[in-house]
C-alpha cells in the first residue's frame, strides 16, 4: 500500500510514519514552517517538501493533500484539532472513506480495518474501510521509528482562491509535564468552588510528584487551568499508574479519558456520582475536608 502522511506537529508526524509503515511505503508532507526539523524525520520513505505552504493555511493544506491523496491508498493525519479538521474535507474531496482517532489499523483483503472508540468510550468500533481511506490516528499509539533516512523531493503548492483569512494568532502557554505521559495525576472538577481552592489539588499533586489535570468545564469554560488541557474524549486520554479524581462527576465523556489508568481513586460528596463506578477506591466526602488530611498524611509518609 502507498501511504501519504501529514501533521501540523512534527512529533505527531513521526507517530504517523510509524503507523503507516505497518501498511507500506510512506510519503510525508513537510510544510515550510517545518523544514528546519527535516533532519529529525526517520522511517519515512520519502519527504514531500512544500516550501510554498505554511501549515497554518488550512485551505492550502486541504487542496495540497487532496490533490496528492488520489495517488495513495491511505492518507494518515493526526488526531489534534487541526488534523481532525482536515480529515472529513480531504476524504470527501477524494471520494474516500474516513475515520478519526484510530487506535489500530491493518490491511485486509484490499480494505483497511481500523479500531476506534465510540459511544463516548463505552464501545470500540471495528470498521472496514474501502480504499482510498483518510484517517486520523490516536495520539501516543505508535512509537516513532529510529531508523531510515527518507529522500527529499520538493513539491509545489496548488494555487487556490482563498476564502479563509487568518487575522490573529495568539499562542497559549505551554504545558509543563504532558498529562498523557504523567505517572500520577490529580484530576479536578467543578466540585471546586473557586480557582484559588485548586491549591488543595496542587499541594496533593506536589507531595505525590504528580501533575494536575481537569474536566472540560474547569479548563475550557471556567479557564481555571493555565492551559486548555482537559481529560476526556475531546481532550487528553491519560494512562497514569495512579489517578485521583476530585470533585468530578465522571460523566461518560470524561470517563473515556481515564480508562487506561491503573489505580483510580474518587473523592466526591455524592455517593451516586458515576465516578464511583469507575474507581478502585471511593471516598464519599467533602474535598475541602478530605484533601488537606490526605496531603498531610502523605507528606508524613514521604518525609519519614
Amino acid at each position: 500500500m502507498r501511504v501519504l502522511a501529514f501533521s501540523h506537529y512534527v512529533d505527531l508526524a513521526l507517530e504517523l510514519i510509524s503507523a503507516g509503515k505497518g501498511l507500506g511505503e510512506v510519503s510525508l508532507i513537510v510544510t515550510s514552517d517545518q523544514e528546519g526539523r527535516i533532519g529529525e524525520i526517520r522511517g519515512a520513505d520519502e519527504i514531500l517538501l512544500c516550501k510554498e505552504l505554511d501549515s497554518g493555511d488550512q485551505e492550502g493544506l486541504v487542496e495540497l493533500i487532496s490533490g496528492l491523496g488520489s495517488e495513495y491508498d491511505v492518507v494518515l493525519l493526526a488526531g489534534d484539532r487541526r488534523g481532525r479538521e482536515l480529515v472529513g474535507q480531504v476524504a470527501h474531496r477524494i471520494g474516500a472513506s474516513s475515520a478519526v482517532d484510530v487506535s489500530s489499523l491493518s490491511a485486509e483483503d484490499g480494505k483497511l480495518v481500523i479500531e476506534r472508540m465510540t459511544f463516548g468510550g463505552k464501545a470500540v468500533a471495528v470498521e472496514e474501510l474501502n480504499l482510498p481511506a483518510v484517517i486520523s490516528v490516536q495520539k501516543g499509539k505508535f512509537k516513532p521509528l529510529e531508523e531510515g533516512e527518507p529522500s527529499v523531493r520538493e513539491i509545489s503548492a496548488p494555487s487556490i482562491d482563498r476564502r479563509i483569512e487568518v487575522l490573529e494568532r495568539k499562542e497559549k502557554p505551554k504545558v509543563g509535564v504532558p498529562l498523557d505521559k504523567a505517572e500520577i495525576v490529580v484530576a479536578v472538577g467543578r466540585g471546586f468552588k473557586k480557582k484559588e481552592d485548586l491549591k488543595l489539588a496542587y499541594e496533593l499533586a506536589e507531595v505525590l510528584g504528580g501533575v494536575v489535570g481537569a474536566t472540560r468545564p474547569l479548563a475550557a469554560d471556567l479557564k481555571w487551568m493555565e492551559e486548555e488541557v482537559w481529560i476526556g474524549i475531546s481532550g487528553v486520554r491519560i494512562a497514569p499508574k495512579l489517578l485521583i479524581v476530585v470533585g468530578a462527576s465522571g460523566q461518560q465523556q470524561f470517563a473515556a479519558g481515564i480508562m487506561d489508568s491503573k489505580v483510580v481513586v474518587a473523592v466526591n460528596t455524592d455517593p451516586k456520582a458515576p465516578i464511583f463506578e469507575q474507581a478502585d477506591y471511593g471516598v464519599v466526602m467533602d474535598l475541602y475536608e478530605f484533601l488537606p488530611v490526605l496531603t498531610k498524611k502523605l507528606r508524613e509518609l514521604k518525609g519519614g
Binding site: 470500540v124 465523556q253 477506591y281 471516598v283
Partner: protein
C-alpha cells in the same frame, strides 16, 4: 442570510447500557436526544438570527432507523431546539438510514442545504460518535470553506469572523460566506426554554421527509466491542482521619505511591 443548524439524533451515551461480560450493547433500549453541543450551535444560530433578522432552521437526518420510538424522540429533540427560538425544522428519516456513513449523509444533507442557506452551524462532534467528520464533509460537498472549534462568531456583511480554540493557540479568522462552521461547548450558554416556548414550538413548521441512502457507504462496521475496565469499587468508610489512613495504606499495597 438564512442559517441551518445540524442537529443529530444522538444516542444518550450516559444512559447506554453495555454488558462487559457478554459484550452486549443495548443500543435499541438507549434513548436518543439532541446532542449537548448541538444546543450550543442552536443558541448561536438564534443569537445571530435575532441580530440579523433572518431565519434559522434545524436540519436532522436520523440514522437510527424509523421506528415509532425513534420518530417520537427525533421530534422531541427538534421541539427542544425549536423552543430555543429556531423558526422551523426539517427531519429526514427512513429505514436503511443506519447504513449511511458520513459520506452518504453529507451528500444527502447537501441536497437539503444547497441554495437555501448561507451559513451552516454544527457541533465540533456529535455526542455519540464525536468524529466531527460530517460538517467537514458537508463543506467539501458544497464547496464551501470550513472552520471548526469556534468559540465566537460575528457576522460582518458577506463574511463571518470566527474565533477558534486550538491546542496551542487561539486564532481569529475571517471567512467568506457561504460557509460551514462547527462550534465548541464553550461558545455560549444555551438558553433553557420556558414551558410556553415549548408549547409554541410544537406549532412551528416541522417538515418530515423520507430517506433512503442514495449511495453505497464507503465503510462497514464489522463489530462493536465493549472494552473491559475492571475497577474494585471499594468505598472507604470512617472519619476523615481513618479514611485518609486507609487510603494511603491501600495505595501503598497497590505499589503506586
Amino acid at each position: 442570510m438564512d442559517i441551518a443548524v445540524l442537529v443529530k439524533q444522538s444516542l444518550d451515551v450516559q444512559e447506554l447500557r453495555v454488558d462487559q461480560d457478554t459484550g452486549k450493547i443495548y443500543i435499541e433500549d438507549a434513548p436518543t436526544k439532541a446532542g449537548d453541543i448541538e444546543l450550543n450551535a442552536t443558541e448561536e444560530a438564534v443569537r445571530l438570527k435575532e441580530k440579523l433578522g433572518d431565519k434559522a432552521i434545524a436540519v436532522m437526518l436520523s440514522t437510527w432507523g424509523a421506528s415509532g420510538k425513534r420518530q417520537k424522540e427525533a421530534r422531541e429533540a427538534l421541539t427542544r431546539v425549536l423552543a430555543m427560538g429556531l423558526d422551523g425544522a426539517v427531519l429526514i428519516m427512513g429505514e436503511g438510514a443506519e447504513k449511511g456513513d458520513t459520506y452518504v449523509i453529507a451528500r444527502a444533507l447537501a441536497e437539503e442545504i444547497r441554495g437555501k442557506f448561507e451559513l451552516v452551524l454544527a457541533a465540533e462532534g456529535s455526542e455519540d460518535n464525536f468524529s466531527g467528520l460530517l460538517p467537514a464533509r458537508l463543506a467539501a460537498e458544497l464547496g464551501w470553506p470550513y472552520v471548526a472549534y469556534a468559540t465566537a462568531i460575528e457576522v460582518e456583511g458577506d463574511h463571518v469572523k470566527v474565533t477558534r480554540s486550538l491546542e496551542d493557540f487561539e486564532e481569529v479568522v475571517r471567512v467568506k460566506l457561504p460557509a460551514v462552521i462547527s462550534v465548541t461547548q464553550e461558545i455560549n450558554k444555551p438558553r433553557v426554554p420556558k414551558l410556553v416556548e415549548i408549547v409554541k414550538a410544537k406549532k412551528k413548521p416541522l417538515d418530515q421527509k423520507d430517506f433512503s441512502p442514495p449511495d453505497e457507504p464507503k465503510l462497514a462496521i464489522k463489530t462493536l466491542k465493549v472494552p473491559k475496565v475492571e475497577r474494585k469499587q471499594i468505598v472507604i468508610e470512617g472519619d476523615v482521619e481513618e479514611v485518609a489512613e486507609k487510603l494511603v495504606q491501600a495505595l501503598r499495597e497497590e505499589g503506586v505511591l
